[in-house]
């Protein structure tokens, strides 16, 4: 059984910028069901999933790097911030709050992970 819940229900995240690219590190709360949650996050986060949850990334290159030793997945969105922080016209030019937006998106989560 799955339930629609914010991704941030048990997934932490922090985002930032490197020039015109945005980075989002996601990792699971490992206080319970650590192994299952890590396996779920690693499988769940893919370039297509990021494009679905962050529609403005749909036309961009998205890279996903698993870091299971940290219970984490690192996401890089190439070009989201245009020419970089000083030149971007984006609402949040340094992508500081991008991760909090992503955490608030509702996704289908297997019930036994909650």
């Amino acid at each position: 059984m799955t339930r629609r819940k914010p991704l941030g229900t048990f997934v932490h995240a922090r985002s930032g910028d490197k020039g015109g690219d945005a980075n989002i590190g996601l990792w699971v709360d490992q206080s319970t069901k650590a192994d299952e949650r890590i396996a779920w996050l690693t499988k769940f986060i893919s370039p297509d999933r990021i494009k679905e949850l962050i529609p403005e990334a749909a036309e961009l290159d998205v890279e996903v790097y698993p870091l299971p030793n940290l219970g984490a997945v690192n996401v890089v969105i190439r070009g989201l911030l245009g020419d970089g922080v000083a030149a971007s016209t984006r609402f949040d030019p340094q992508a500081k709050a991008l991760a909090e937006w992503l955490r608030s998106r509702h996704v289908s989560i297997t019930e036994n992970l909650l």
Binding site: H12, N23, N69, A72, V76, F91
Partner: protein, 460 residues
Amino acid sequence: MSAAILRVGNCSGFYGDRLSAMREMLEGGDLDVLTGDYLAELTMLILGKDRMKDPTLGYARTFLRQAEDCMGLALEQGVRIVSDAGGLNPASLTEKLREVAGGLGLTPRIAYVHGDDLVDRVDELGLGKPLTANAYLGAFGIAAALRNGADIVVTGRVTDASLVVGPAVAHFGWDREAYDELAGAVVAGHVLECGAHASGGNFSGFRALAPDSTPIGFPLAEIAADGSSVITKHPGTGGAVTIDTVTAQLVYEVQSQTYLGPDVSARLDSIVLSSDDENRIRICGVRGIAPPDQLKVCVNELGGFRNTIEFLLTGMEIDGKADWVRAQMDLALANRPPATVAWTLARTDVDDSTTQEGASCRLRCTVKDEDPAVVGKAFTAPAVELGLASYPGFTLTAPPTPGTPYGIYRPAYVDQATVQHTVVHGDGTTESIPAPTRTTHSGRTGRAAGESPPRRPPTW
């Protein structure tokens, strides 16, 4: 310094970070070295603009104020200070620090590290015509300065982690190929480089930390001879150091599983975190490999000028109001439109709101152009002139302003050996820091058939 463990603190994660943090870190507990990072891609541009106005500027001025307040205390405690606050002008910052020290009756040994600034070599290196161009140097210049007895080391653009790796190299005597030890210190440095980020700042699980108004303590690393470390903070400070707060910083602004740097590439997929005690997180297991044969260069060009106007839209028919004012502005700008015109409307308004602010949203227009006049009055006057002649409830969120210059950041790459990494010691002698002899091919300078495809460029 105790032989077995080196205690390295951080008191700054950016230019503008908590001014009192240097004193807090010195008074709050034992340290061997106190580091501070003041430079970001954007900061180099800000310092570049400072230097254009006054060639003796181009360093982080807040560091000078902190040093004036804390230099005596640090010297008394034997805490060495290592900072990249030199920015585009470490020599000038060093001179200013000596003046400050003289005024206080102190005689610290101050060294600086330079060679990162490539702005005078851009033609030779094919870097275009930038305002700033700085290679990210490694840790061995800082280490040489400390070994020579420096009390204070200021640098230009070094990698953020080098501020922590340099003291560890000086203390433990690691050689250039002690990759696992270096990588361990790089990871500790990466955790410390953003200050309170590692100790509960901006952490998505903030509610679990029972946040109160106590200022979050800045982090410190207790580094061991094998490069492993414990991340902690001074007792009684706010925030917390947990596996989650350390992970939050480990995954911040990294670009793959390998954290490339000028001295070593650290394998992020080898890090093992464990909880030692309350507010004590151990980092071990970090593996390192030889660094790339090229250094990353932070290049900032003057991009042009920009300006923004925000229209406040309230109540009913928001879309219709937005469409109309956009059409009015488009017509007014039609003769010479700015090169970039970007409109955004975020529908933050709530239906049937019991507050006026809740019923409102902002329509934002950002323009960019190489001509300051085009984004100045030529852009703002049409908006102002609509004041009595547009949608109902017309108002702007701020008075019109002139356009401001903006930069464009891009990374570039140069061979390690092209950069003259140099230390100027406190006695005026200079020491040249050779490039690493063992490197991995980074694949950006062309490749022969049959070689593997180029890797991603360095990403620190």
